[in-house]
Amino acid sequence: MCLAVPGKVIRIENTNAVVDVLGVTRSIAVDLIRDLQVGDYLMVHAGYAIEKIDEEEAVRTLELYRELGAVLEEQQDVE
């Protein structure tokens, strides 16, 4: 039940934000998010935003995944 989707904030209306999830818009509660701006990405679950999505961390994680695959391959070659 951790099912959540990323949505892009297109409008902020008081404690709600209208987010775009792959073309579908939905109004969700953002009471639990600080310093929200239009254009931010949010992880949306059961009608509310659980957290902002950090783009820099996303890039870092992808880098990590590329390294992980390579490291494990190297280990297998050595064994």
Partner: protein, 360 residues
């Protein structure tokens, strides 16, 4: 920002990660994914198909529907049958069997049972039906509890008097401890729930892995996240490290979402909870704080929870502990089917049995 899905579903990246994983030829390892959404993602993306023979994945108790006892459904059914009640629920509770019937059969017989995407949806229902009592079936883990807390707070602030909650929310830490304390426990590493950790932060998981000397990765839900998590666990196991690494830093911060934690703490307080398959675990559940007792459906409707027995032959309890695969249950695929589920593991869209059956 690029589309959040595409990068983590990039074919070339997935291919290289899958290849690295399938090359593993070390000692046999069994990893447990705790979260029901991980179970579902693993099945949907065919992750098991790229695992080498030495790596096994089992599902844990992080499926909130699966661990909900049938006695809870019995109380919900009792409420649904009242003509003054509108029952609001998440979709996957609908077909969970109680002792005698499910909410689905109740609904088919005319009870006002409404599916909601969010507990916040109940506020409009309350507004539109002031003559009715709206009851929300409140289940879920740390990811879901904050929005339920938010709903209570908003209802309070708006002076809504016809809303109550049948609370069976649960938390992960105590059930994880119960898992590792079990003398039969043989798991070599955990895939930890990324969205639970987005709320709670990673501290508990870091301490947990250190204390029990067990590898862990806090993982997201895209295919690359799951493969990454598994690669990370293999690396830890191979290098004899045991720590909780966060591979989902794009939403998981060490301290988590403090506003969400505060909302949860304001509205709920820890209590003992009954987990299907585990019995009663102290401190593993949540109940409404005294200040919000007026919103407690159990009190409002003077409900008593009658302990229900497991259906004969059902082995959900062992499946939830990762002890056996669904195929080891005699009812799986014979008597227990998605169309006629016996146990909750088959009913829930995130249950291990439902996942196994769908993607077999």
């Amino acid at each position: 920002m690029s589309n959040q899905f595409t990068d983590f579903r990039d074919a070339a990246l997935l291919h290289s990660m899958a290849e690295a994983l399938s090359n593993y030829a070390g000692r046999p390892l069994t990893f447990m994914e705790v979260c029901g959404t991980h179970t579902m993602s693993i099945m949907r993306y065919g992750i098991k198909g790229v695992l080498p023979p030495a790596i096994r994945l089992v599902s844990g108790p992080g499926c909130p529907v699966c661990v909900t006892e049938s006695s809870y459904i019995d109380m919900a059914v009792e409420l649904a049958k009242r003509p003054d009640v509108i029952l609001a629920t998440f979709g996957d509770l609908l077909r969970v069997p109680g002792s005698r019937e499910s909410l689905q059969t109740c609904k088919s017989a005319g009870a006002d049972v409404r599916l909601v995407y969010s507990p916040l949806d109940t506020l409009a229902i309350c507004h539109d039906h002031p003559e009715k009592q709206v009851v929300f079936l409140s289940i879920g883990f740390e990811t879901t509890t904050p929005v339920t807390a938010l709903t209570v707070l908003k209802a309070q602030a708006s002076g809504i008097r016809n809303l109550s909650f049948l609370v069976a929310n649960k938390t992960m830490p105590r059930v994880l401890e119960a898992l590792v304390a079990d003398h039969d426990f043989r798991i070599d590493g955990f895939l930890f729930p990324g969205h639970v950790c987005a709320i709670t932060g990673s501290r508990f998981y870091e301490e947990f892995c250190r204390r029990y000397t067990i590898p862990g990765v806090i993982a997201g839900f895209e295919p690359a996240d799951i493969l990454g998590g598994l690669l990370g666990l293999v690396a830890q196991a191979s290098e004899e490290r045991a720590e909780a690494e966060t591979y989902y830093a794009r939403v998981v911060r060490r301290e988590g979402n403090e506003q969400a934690q505060q909302a949860t703490a304001d509205v709920f307080t820890p209590c003992a909870a009954n987990w299907r398959g585990f019995g009663t675990i102290p401190g593993s559940g949540l109940q409404l704080q005294e200040a919000y007792a007026a919103f407690d459906a159990k009190r409002r409707f003077a409900l008593t929870e009658v302990e229900a027995r497991e259906p004969a032959g059902c082995r959900c309890s062992e499946i939830l502990k990762g002890r056996i695969d669904p195929t080891a249950c005699p009812l799986f695929g014979t008597v227990c089917l998605p169309t006629s589920p016996v146990g909750a593991c088959m009913v829930s869209s995130e249950g291990a049995c439902a996942a196994y059956y769908r993607y077999r």
